[in-house]
């Protein structure tokens, strides 16, 4: 049944009800007036008529308007309720849950058809997103075979004792680039798989403070050649449900960035605190920083900022994307703040594990 028919039907029901109510009121009024008529014999005919008119108006028109308003309000609400739920459902849709369908009422009205059309569109979108993901996934798999051959053959060539120093250097430099390419392909594969929901994390209670301390040691060693100071200002005990390897990857990626995008004799400051039921890890570094207009895009894949102003730093361009994925896969979050040429701070928040009895 279409909404138009339904509204017409409902409204006629409302009108009938109002008419019935008004008639009842009128009858009742007639009865009362009769009584009055007998009681106040002394009043003039015209006086009685005007009183009657006012009475009739109060007893019929006011309820009619009130009922009409209430009925109209109820009708609109009934008719628009599916729109509200549709709006809510559509608002929840992102590229990650395109597979979810909007709720259908099943009564084949205009809104139900609209939801149907939306669902078809979502299905098409979902399909094309999936194709893109599959394409990336297949592409990265396909790239691995030739990469394996290239790396292997270059390495075999390097083992050849008869190579001249220059040839050896050339082969070694090629191998470095091949390995970098391999890392990019690895990162792409990981992200493509994460997009497709194909990565399963092995969650277990992990002592984040221990990982942070470990990472602090590594960061100190990484920073030493450039004379960068690394500090750990706080390291509160915090247990989070996490995949240990992925968390270490997150920490190392951030530490590596903090050292790479620093300045000579610069500074890196780390801290881990428990704040409002979450573990908050921050890592701040001196250095050129990130201009405000680039901040929203730093987690984008292969985003490198303004190529004219960013230092040439070797990397695969996927580090922060991977960090963001790891944080969100642990129901956490990551954000970057930066005061250019002063300080850049990355904050990661991860939900703490439910307190469990401590094992000595």
């Amino acid at each position: 049944m279409t909404i138009r028919t339904r509204l017409t039907l409902w409204y006629s029901v409302v009108l009938c009800a109002v008419a019935l109510a008004v008639m009842t009121a009128a009858l009742y009024h007639e009865f009362v007036i009769e009584k009055h008529h007998h009681r106040y014999q002394g009043k003039s005919e015209s006086e009685r008529d005007s009183e009657d008119l006012i009475d009739i108006l109060t007893w019929t028109v006011v309820p009619a308007v009130a009922f009409g308003l209430a009925g109209g309000w109820w009708l609109t609400r009934q008719a628009l309720a599916p729109v509200a739920s549709l709006t809510q459902a559509a608002g929840r849709i992102t590229e990650r849950n395109l597979g979810e369908e909007l709720p259908r009422t099943g009564n084949a009205d205009e809104l139900d058809r609209l939801a149907g059309v939306f669902n078809d569109m979502l299905a098409r979108l979902d399909d094309s997103f999936n194709r893109t993901r599959e394409f990336t996934l297949h592409a990265s798999h396909e790239l691995k075979t030739p990469l394996t051959v290239l790396c292997g053959e270059t390495e075999t060539a390097l083992r050849d004792e008869s190579l001249s120093a220059a040839e050896r250097e050339r082969a070694a430099s090629q191998l470095d680039e091949l390995r970098r390419l391999a890392r990019i392909v690895d990162g792409l594969t990981l992200l493509a798989k994460a997009d497709a929901g194909q990565v399963t994390l092995k969650l277990e209670p992990v002592r984040l403070d221990e990982l942070v301390r470990d990472n602090f040691e590594d960061a100190r060693i990484l920073a030493e050649p450039q004379g960068i100071q690394v500090e750990l200002t706080a390291c509160e005990e915090a247990t989070v449900p996490a995949d240990r390897h992925r968390l270490r990857q997150l920490l190392l990626n951030l530490a590596d960035n903090a050292v790479k995008y620093n300045q000579p004799q610069g500074r890196v400051t780390m801290s881990l605190r428990r704040v409002d039921g979450v573990a908050e890890f921050t890592i701040a570094n001196t250095g050129p920083g990130i201009p405000a207009e680039f901040l929203p895009r730093v987690f984008d894949r292969f985003f490198r900022g303004d190529p004219a102003h960013s230092p040439t730093v070797e990397g695969c361009g996927l580090g922060l994307s991977i960090v963001q994925w790891i944080a969100s896969a642990h129901s956490g979050s990551v954000k970057v703040d930066s005061i250019p040429s002063k300080i850049t701070t990355v904050t990661v928040q991860l939900p703490l594990a439910e307190p469990a009895p401590r094992i000595a």
Binding site: T145, V149, E155, D186, Q198, V199, I221, P225
Partner: protein, 224 residues
């Protein structure tokens, strides 16, 4: 030592064979799963390098067949997919090690060596290279009679290199064994640690023991 390499990609099979032969292994090569099973039935190999993606019967199925036959031959799985789940699945199916593609050749060789070694060899508690000694129980390192202070990580790195003294150790394998990283962090962490370790064990001594093999890895040995 005789090793079977099962890899359908001919070029990969070829350089893997060359690298293993250079290490003194006798190498047989198969290009599909059924041939591999037949070969493994006919010859008692000391180790098998098995690619997961094979035409017809895939590597995991070959592995399961081998284990059903009660074959205990150590197996190193190779995979282009490199999924965490696949690694677990492979190890559950009875593999002894797993290496994602693209791998470093030195890495593969080191792993095959470790697989075929396994029992007993080099489990001694005092490791020695030239005048450098490492006591694995007391974690005490000495060179030329002088004590060398090592951090926990440096100790593990040195122990790892000394257990494989004379052989090239790949960067990924060091990251896995010393740092327990299952990913390539793309940092020069290993290089920096090696440099520090070199300052401690080599700077004031001759001959130099810790060498970088450009593009391949590191090796601890007496001759350059």
């Amino acid at each position: 030592m005789r090793v079977l390499v099962v890899e359908d990609e001919k070029k990969t099979a070829s350089f893997v064979r060359k690298a293993l032969q250079a290490e003194g292994f006798a190498v047989d090569v198969c290009h599909n799963g059924d041939d591999a099973l037949a070969a493994a039935r006919a010859t008692p190999f000391d180790g098998i390098v098995l690619d997961i993606m094979l035409p017809g019967r895939d590597g995991l199925s070959v592995l399961r067949q081998l284990r059903e036959r009660k074959s205990a031959t150590p197996v190193l799985l190779l995979s282009a997919r490199g999924e965490v789940n696949e690694r677990v699945e492979g190890l559950n199916a009875g593999a002894d090690d797993y290496l994602p593609k693209p791998f470093e050749l030195a890495e593969l060789v080191a792993r095959v060596r470790a697989l075929t070694r396994r029992s007993g060899e080099n489990k001694s508690t005092v490791l020695r290279v030239a005048d450098l000694t490492l006591h694995t129980i007391t974690h005490r390192a000495q060179r030329g009679g002088a004590d060398i202070e090592l951090t926990a990580r440096e100790y593990r790195l040195l122990e790892f290199l000394m257990r494989d003294a004379g052989r090239i150790c790949g960067r990924m394998m060091i990251l896995e064994k010393v740092w327990d990283y299952d990913f390539d962090p793309g940092t020069n962490l290993v290089d920096v640690y090696i440099r520090r370790l070199r300052e401690k064990i080599d700077a004031n001594f001759e001959p130099k023991l810790l060498h970088t093999v450009r593009g391949t890895g590191y090796v601890l040995k007496e001759q350059p």
